[in-house]
């Protein structure tokens, strides 16, 4: 019974994610595309909950839907972008047949890898019982602050550099004027 519910939930979230992803690419208005991308992020967050990684699900909503999409929508509003009158597709899209064939070939090869691939026998100790006993956040924190401490600190450095770079770049142009 529970597996049927999980399967139905997966199909619901997957359908929502795929439909809104297609709308991101197809819609004329940039704000519509941004809203569709938010729907995609929420659907993916639901799928992460199905995968028993609640921490990643919450981070997905906070970081992607809450920070990155807000930034993108601010930029769209700031630049006052409208649906372009010149059309959706770039000049290379005159060779759209080649691009679509390439994309379909890529998809077919990905599906072939997934369907015929054999998963290796790697197995760890973090099964559902272990994660639910200790708590998802605790398990991630324990690994992050012991094995992955250096990437963690470097990530904070990276974000600081990004902030400084963004401020410097946006002010540099204003100074010239």
């Amino acid at each position: 019974m529970e597996s049927i519910i999980k399967l139905l939930l997966f199909y619901a979230f997957a359908a929502a994610a795929v439909v809104s992803a297609v709308m991101v690419v197809v819609k004329k208005n940039p704000v519509s595309s941004a809203m569709s991308l938010v729907v995609t992020f929420f659907s993916l967050s639901g799928i992460y909950v199905l995968l028993n990684s609640q921490f990643i699900a919450v981070m997905q909503v906070l970081v992607y839907a809450g920070a990155i999409m807000v930034l993108i929508i601010f930029v769209i509003m700031l630049l006052n972008l409208r649906a372009s009158a010149l059309g959706l597709y770039n000049k290379t899209a005159s060779k759209a047949a080649v691009i679509i064939i390439f994309v379909l070939a890529m998809f077919v090869s990905l599906v072939a890898i997934v369907v015929t691939g054999q998963m290796s026998d790697v197995s760890g100790m973090f099964n559902n019982a272990h994660i639910n006993r200790a708590g998802g956040v605790q398990v991630i924190a324990r690994a992050m602050f012991s094995d992955f401490l250096l990437p963690f600190e470097l990530t904070s450095l990276l974000i600081t550099v990004a902030i400084i770079g963004a401020v410097v770049m946006s002010r540099g142009a204003a100074k010239k004027q």
């Binding site: 993916l44 995968l51 760890g124 550099v161 990004a162």
Partner: protein, 101 residues
Amino acid sequence: MELTLNHYLLLSAVLFTIGTAGVLLRRNAIIIFMSVELMLNAVNLTLVAFSRYQQQITGEIFVFFVMAVAAAEAAVGLVILIVVYRHKESVDVDEINELRR
């Protein structure tokens, strides 16, 4: 039918393909950027699915770092886009594809 790893991997493949099509076909630089974010999310889904089906935690930690890098990239990329817009009055990639004015 049981929910297996292949379900998640196929969904990730579909999302990645849609993101690639968006990057290659669209004209508006912000839509291209959003398609790149879609591709990053597809990869995140693959990482978390493998992490869960192989009973490891390393995949989820990697996803944490991918999200942090995506946030930093979003900030810097959008500022570059704003500066280009100030210079060229357009975010159309057909108009900003040359370095000379």
